[in-house]
């Protein structure tokens, strides 16, 4: 579906829209390709070509939506009737009056910058690269499973409304993955270049994401972990790599600051938040080293865009500044309901789901320390890298996270490898113990393509710029004997 086709569908929408107070349509075309080699054998090659429309109508302050893959005149007309049906029901049972929402009256465009286009590379060449990586992973009989994969996704969207606004966006994501699993007896350890190593752009992004260079070291590390001691138990200093900081930022800052959670929408599923509306502008979320921004402007980050799915212009905003909570992650609907300023983060994962508050790119701004300086500042601690376990309560406070790889830090130097490193804490205290933040050079622009939330459920990509960070007085522990 090219851009012209999107506008053809838009034309049908404009013809079919009934007499209502407000309307918006989001027309989406998603293309995906995935290639994977496991144990030197090509896995099923798949392509995806998916298009549909989400229509939202407003009547008497109520809103109803209908999504359909039927983009014919009949299909769109039928969807209009469904949306109207629900808008009419909603107007008498509505949670808020949608007539107070501001009308989007601007148009605009956004496009991912790509240098090496995915489509310009032959399928043979990309498969051959995966074969080569796969061969590098099988370095020993102890490696019992190994794989390398590449995914690509392009999303074209056109948002239109009754004011004549047109928001046209095209985003491309590149999604590499490598894993190596080692086993000895009943002991199994895995290392991977996980999905946090994803970004927007073309094949040129792969190198900065560690693909394929990390392959051989991953297999080596999986084997080393088999004979490593368990991570010690105790209250120690903790140094988290950018790969693990992605998860830490995501779970214990991103989710609790989503305004729809604070407003209670997610209480039946993803949960609520320990953060309340009164805390904005004054609450000490972390140490003065903590600076968090909502920043959809880094083109290479996974969740960059020009406009959110309500059509709001996306701009960089401080969420936490020098440790003090500034504003929530809430789109225009939540902002209206809470009477708080937010950000442009109303997003839907697909044409078949309505927009909800999402964290998009939530970045921890770089500090001043090099990685070496962070290590040298720790007398007794553990460095942890690559998330493998995550669990947090429904208020996003009590958390426990585990990593694939740990290194002891003794007297300012990295020492031996430890396995099963875990740590636990409470969000409200943890960030106040932030003692050091890596500088720009040590920062990595990462994310995750599959953050789950919402009812009906939605999986969506989010981005996190993550420097390595040093925390003091953290409860760390290893596996059972």
């Amino acid at each position: 579906m090219n851009t012209e086709d999107l506008f053809k569908v838009a034309h049908i929408v404009k013809q079919q829209v009934p007499s209502v107070d407000a309307w918006q349509a989001r027309i989406i075309h998603i293309e995906e390709e995935s290639r994977s080699v496991r144990q030197d054998i090509l896995q099923p090659v798949t392509t995806e070509d998916d298009m549909g429309i989400m229509i939202t109508l407003g009547i008497g302050g109520g809103m109803g939506y209908a999504a359909t893959s039927d983009l014919s005149l009949t299909g769109i007309s039928s969807a209009m009737k469904q949306a109207k049906y629900w808008a009419e029901i909603c107007q008498h049972k509505k949670l808020f009056d949608a007539r107070s929402l501001p009308l989007m009256q601007h148009s605009g465009q956004y496009q991912t910058n790509t240098i090496q286009n995915w489509k310009d590379r032959s399928i043979s060449d990309s498969i051959e690269q995966l074969y080569q990586i796969s061969k590098q992973l099988k370095i020993s009989d102890l490696i019992v499973d190994w794989s390398a994969a590449l995914g690509w996704k392009r999303t074209k969207s056109l948002i239109i409304n009754q004011a004549g606004s047109e928001i046209l966006q095209q985003r491309e994501q590149i999604l590499p993955h490598i894993s190596a699993t080692a086993n000895k007896g009943a002991e199994t350890q895995s290392r991977c270049l996980g999905h946090e190593m994803s970004g927007q752009g073309g094949l040129e992004q792969l190198q900065r994401l560690g693909f394929p260079d990390k392959a051989k070291s991953l297999a080596n590390e999986a084997i080393v972990l088999l004979d490593a001691d368990n991570c010690p138990n105790g209250t120690l200093d903790l140094l988290l790599s950018p790969g693990q900081m992605v998860l830490q930022i995501h779970e214990s800052i991103g989710h609790p600051l989503e305004l729809d959670r604070i407003l209670g929408d997610e209480r039946n599923y993803a949960g609520t938040s320990f953060v309340t509306e009164e805390m904005f502008g004054q609450y000490e979320y972390g140490s003065p080293l903590l600076n968090i921004t909502f920043d959809p402007t880094h083109n290479e980050q996974l969740a960059s865009y020009g406009y959110d799915d309500d059509g709001q212009l996306a701009e960089k905003q401080f969420i936490i500044k020098e440790g003090i909570l500034q504003r929530p992650l809430g789109g225009q609907t939540s902002q209206l309901r809470a009477n708080l300023s937010g950000v442009a983060n109303a997003r839907a994962c697909h044409w078949n789901r309505p927009a909800i508050d999402r964290m998009a790119n939530l970045n921890l701004e770089a500090g001043t320390s090099s990685f070496e300086e962070l290590v040298s500042s720790i007398e007794n601690g553990v460095l942890m890298d690559t998330n493998k376990s995550w669990s947090i309560d429904d208020s996003r406070n009590k958390f426990q996270f585990g990593c694939e790889m740990g290194y002891l830090i003794k007297n300012g130097e990295l020492s031996k490898v430890v396995k099963n490193p875990n740590y636990r804490g409470i969000s409200a205290n943890f960030w106040r113990n932030l003692k050091g933040v890596g500088h720009q050079k040590a920062t990595q622009y990462l994310g995750t393509p599959n953050c789950g939330k919402g009812e009906p459920n939605q999986l969506i990509e989010v981005g996190h710029a993550a420097p390595p960070c040093h925390f003091s007085n953290v409860e760390v522990f290893g596996g059972a004997k």
């Binding site: 014919s72 509505k94 208020s395």
Partner: protein, 438 residues
């Protein structure tokens, strides 16, 4: 839907060449979704989606394409023809796949789970009217799901399911709430009213000042909805043949070191009980049941078509993740739960579980919603949320004291991409020395 699918199958049969075969899978739904907060409508709407997956096979080579369809439209023939040509153009560049596995034996099936549901509006009216001033939050989903399979050999399988699933909780304040659910094929307002009455009774207990629990080991009762979280963690890589052959199952010590669970534990993938289609995406017909753990000892794995070819086993599953788990019931009577628990924790829900040490099958997670402190067989107070960290070998091993006689049948309310057809049937569990850590 059925008619348009068969038309597409006939169309493809005409378009493939003599050295080509195809497998075709349809996945579609027409569902209403109503999201409620504070017992009012937050978002409401309808989703109609039709997706088709075509696998084109030439000898040992194959490629798969997934497309969305409009439904009963000439455009769909254009799209599928374009997809066919695209897949055909890929095949020369792909190697033979030694693990390609699809059924060539023709088995026709037709499954239709119909319902007698009123208009969604009527059910929403009943919900909001019954809950009245309660702070109710949740998701109502209702409608029809379709799955179908066909291949170039002439096999045809059809599956249709029409039901509703209302997953909700009622809040007292902050994180103090009662979780509930109502799902099925027939809407009975009286049944929903009873659920709201039960929720109100538990909300009354939540008004009692909460008891602060210290980390330590406790005697606990896990209600079926809480135990389901533990079993869903076991299901995450625990029972697949591939995860066993590559030593990645968290239950590795059951097969490598003869570790076992309590003899009370018999766990199976019970397809006849569940709601999933009886066929796989490669045209194999699932068996009635696969016993995964029998009286505490590991028995069989779930084997997908691809793993079956790789490891020379028989296909018994579509994917290697269970979708119709059943844990056999025990002897503990429902009325005796509190007396048998005596003093400890009554845990209705667990949440956000994950492995803290996969090799030891050690799981961490949180208590959530209405969980209570029980003393001398009486509920005394709600508890604050607590983190647990314990091994399956303990929780469902030596520390498992009893399973209840009553099993709950829980329809999975998940709606990622589309409404889930998974389910689980299980009793509650009485466990001692359950470890709380934070």
């Amino acid at each position: 839907m059925k008619h348009s699918f068969t038309q597409l199958v006939d169309f493809l049969k005409q378009k493939i060449t003599t050295n080509e075969q195809f497998l075709l899978n349809l996945s579609a739904e027409e569902s209403d979704f109503v999201r409620l907060n504070h017992n009012k409508i937050r978002q409401a709407g309808h989703v109609k989606q039709i997706h088709l997956s075509l696998k084109l096979i030439q000898g040992e080579k194959h490629a798969t394409g997934n497309i969305s369809l409009m439904g009963e439209s000439e455009e769909d023939f254009v799209r599928i023809h374009r997809l066919l040509n695209h897949l055909r153009s890929q095949l020369p560049f792909l190697p033979d796949d030694p693990y390609l596995n699809f059924s060539t034996e023709i088995n026709q099936t037709e499954t239709e789970h119909s319902s007698h549901l009123p208009e969604s509006q009527q059910m929403i009216d009943d919900i909001i009217h019954t809950a009245d001033t309660l702070d109710l939050v949740g998701i109502f989903a209702s409608g029809t799901q379709y799955q179908a399979f066909a291949n170039s050999f002439g096999q045809y399988n059809w599956y249709m399911n029409n039901n509703f699933n209302f997953d909700f909780s009622c809040y007292l304040e902050k994180d103090k709430a009662v979780k509930s659910g109502y799902a099925g094929y027939q809407w009975d307002k009286a049944s929903f009213v009873q659920r709201i009455k039960n929720a109100k009774q538990q909300l009354d207990i939540l008004k009692i000042p909460e008891k602060i629990i210290q980390p330590g080991q406790y005697r606990v009762y896990l209600a079926p909805s809480a135990l389901a979280e533990i079993l869903s963690m076991m299901a995450w890589g625990g029972f697949g043949l591939k995860s066993h052959k590559t030593a990645q199952t968290p239950l590795l010590k059951m097969t490598k070191e003869n570790r076992h669970l309590s003899s009370l534990v018999t766990l199976s993938e019970n397809y006849t009980m569940g709601l999933t289609p009886p066929f796989t995406r490669q045209g194999f017909i699932k068996p009635k049941q696969v016993t995964l753990i029998k009286q505490g000892k590991y028995q069989d794995c779930l084997t997908s078509p691809r793993s079956a070819k790789e490891y020379d086993q028989i296909v018994n599953a579509d994917s290697e993740m269970p979708s119709s788990l059943e844990l056999q019931k025990g002897q503990l009577k429902q009325d005796d739960i509190l007396q048998t628990l005596e003093t400890g924790l009554y845990i209705n829900n667990l949440w956000y579980c994950n492995y803290s040490d996969r090799n030891e099958a050690r799981i961490t997670g949180m208590t959530r919603f209405a969980c209570f402190w029980v003393e001398n067989g009486e509920i005394k107070a709600p508890i604050s949320v607590m983190r647990f960290d314990d091994s399956i070998y303990s929780m469902l091993g030596n520390n498992l004291l009893a399973l209840t006689q009553q099993q709950d049948f829980i329809l999975d309310p998940d709606t990622y991409s589309q409404r889930s057809t998974a389910s689980i049937k299980l009793p509650g569990a009485l466990i001692e020395n359950f470890t709380l850590t934070l």
